[in-house]
Symmetry: C2
Subunit: 238 residues, 2 copies
Amino acid sequence: MASSEDKTRLYELVLDNGWAASPYVWRIRYALAHKGVPCEPVPLGFTEIATAFGGRFKTVPVIEHGDTMLAESWDIAEYLDRAFPGRPALFSGPAEHALVRLTDTWYFATILRKMFAMYVLDVHDAARPEDRAYFRRSRQELMKGATLEEFTANRASRLPALRDAMMPLRTHLSRFPYLGGSAPNFADYIALSGFLWVASVSTLPLLAHDDALRPWLERGFDLYGGLGRDPRVKTLFE
Amino acid sequence: MASSEDKTRLYELVLDNGWAASPYVWRIRYALAHKGVPCEPVPLGFTEIATAFGGRFKTVPVIEHGDTMLAESWDIAEYLDRAFPGRPALFSGPAEHALVRLTDTWYFATILRKMFAMYVLDVHDAARPEDRAYFRRSRQELMKGATLEEFTANRASRLPALRDAMMPLRTHLSRFPYLGGSAPNFADYIALSGFLWVASVSTLPLLAHDDALRPWLERGFDLYGGLGRDPRVKTLFE
């Protein structure tokens, strides 16, 4: 295993404006900040990812740490706790690890997947011009032939259901400042990263201006010196 | 605070057949078994709960431990870890505690609430005869005037959506033997208790016979010497 002294690089997905835009990259950015591990970002466009790793990895985030290279956000998060044992842990133990994973599974099925469907055309439009044709083709294959425009045409009508699906987060955050309790944990980073990804590309405000999630989102984007703050980030609120 | 040597009683809700039937009581039964705290059950019918505690508590579970009496399953679970520090902990720390609570919130909103709507008439029919009129009146008030029969008339048509809502549990349990990871934790007890409550009254099988949840349910009902096993428990499977 690489030493905790070795340099760390994070291969990221970038938009045309240079801002990182992948909910899976963002959760690793937060994880690295949580652990206080300095990291050099390596920006890649959609079309560069397929060839950047000689076919070894097809998605980002990819982390490079000494002579170790690793993809998949969960594998990376688990690796970080092993490789940097002297730094603050992402997972206090196996039960927290399992329950964050369950939270990720709920969040993906009930929220993130709906976000993808709602903002996929915005991602296309925010991508680097040379990445757009590839992005369109690969995503339209997933959508069984519908164009991105057809797929998102009635998206505003789907907003109420998406906002409703967030009710358990609101209930929880009426009791705790973070999903992880009194301090943020990887569950927060996962959920915040979904919202931050939407905010990177959004042309349709996701939330009402007084949404009860707002204080948590503001706190979360402020974490680690304002990790989620940038003039390129659009508002999530009406 | 009462001493860990003091006797513990659990006030429960019983059906006509004497079997306990409340998902909130069951999670505390599991919690007590997890901690290895012996406990004397005190069965109460729906109509007895209102008067049993001189108005102090209106719901069960209620736990009596020495001179301490406490209602609300979350307050009880947290109390058990404080009152029996030498026994296996329900929560390894604040992050596990917060994430189990989040899991409970998701589970209630997306699964347990739908179970209530589907099996409320079965609960009525399984209640002690002297409790049925009260149960009907109080539940129909919650349902804004619909009768229990009207409310459940088309329940079979709602099964597919309820089964779909369980997908995140199935995904998680394809990776881990329990929601809590390699060992069951309070998240398992919460979720198992919902299914066990359905199984206590069900006249409509909740799950397909080959549902991927089945191995976890079987394991969960077998825990602690077969805590969820009894001839009065009906099958959950088609």
